[in-house]
């Protein structure tokens, strides 16, 4: 990173808890934001489950990283987008999510991709 501000989009498409990917991606996103880059998230496919409230992970012995998502404001994350189709496919409504989100269409996702310089998928 040579000093210019980059527009960064982190695409989360994986189910939580099956791999370390979502947490690692979240760490990277917050780090980039701390270094003044403009960071947003897009949750799609199984990734929307990362945002679902009431995740009780004690039975697996995992730490619940849901509180980390709630810190999005502290880390100055610009936008949290969610794919409309994925919400429908998994029958999840906005009020079941941990944080306020902007629900977008596939066309808007395409637009998002063309607007961000650095895009990383979990």
């Amino acid at each position: 990173m040579s000093g210019s501000v980059k527009t960064c989009l982190f695409v989360h498409q994986n189910s939580p808890h099956g791999s370390a990917n979502p947490v690692e991606s979240l760490d990277m996103a917050y780090t980039l934001s701390a270094f003044e880059h403009e960071v947003s998230f897009l949750f799609m496919q199984e990734g929307i489950f990362q945002l679902l409230h009431d995740q009780k992970t004690e039975g697996l012995g995992f730490k619940d990283f849901a509180p980390a998502f709630k810190a999005w404001e502290d880390f100055e994350i610009k936008h949290i987008y969610v794919d409309h189709q994925s919400m429908d496919d998994f029958d999840i409504s906005q009020d079941q999510l941990l944080v306020p989100v902007e629900v977008i269409s596939k066309q808007e996702i395409s637009q998002l991709f063309s607007e961000h310089e650095f895009i990383f998928t979990d």
Binding site: N21, I109, F113, I119
Partner: protein, 102 residues
């Protein structure tokens, strides 16, 4: 914005790659690395896949990952250019941004 797409999706998850390609623009290029290099072995199936899915985009494959998986340059699809890490860096500098898929 012209993008360089970084693909590490293996052939077993080809559907993810097909979905990714739908978001690519004509002048975008693609680098296949890690398990995705398996897409680049010169087989009839791979040739058919590339001519259907990636006819528009310049494609590159990382030599170190090919070598690790026992695929020689000679066994690679002719449409895909084999590159090393240094060449990957040079390539990245030519584009406005990168899109890493998984």
């Amino acid at each position: 914005m012209q993008k360089l797409h970084l693909i590490n999706i293996p052939p077993g998850q080809a559907e993810r790659l097909i979905n990714a390609q739908q978001f690519m623009q004509e002048k975008d290029a693609v680098v296949f690395y890690e398990d995705a290099v398996l897409f680049c072995k010169n087989t009839q199936k791979n040739q058919s896949f590339f001519s259907n899915v990636f006819k528009e985009n310049a494609c590159y494959v990382l030599e170190a990952d090919l070598n690790a998986r026992g695929i020689s340059k000679a066994n690679c699809l002719s449409d895909v250019q084999v590159i090393d890490y240094d060449q990957w860096v040079v390539l990245t500098e030519k584009f406005d941004g990168t899109h890493s898929w998984n």
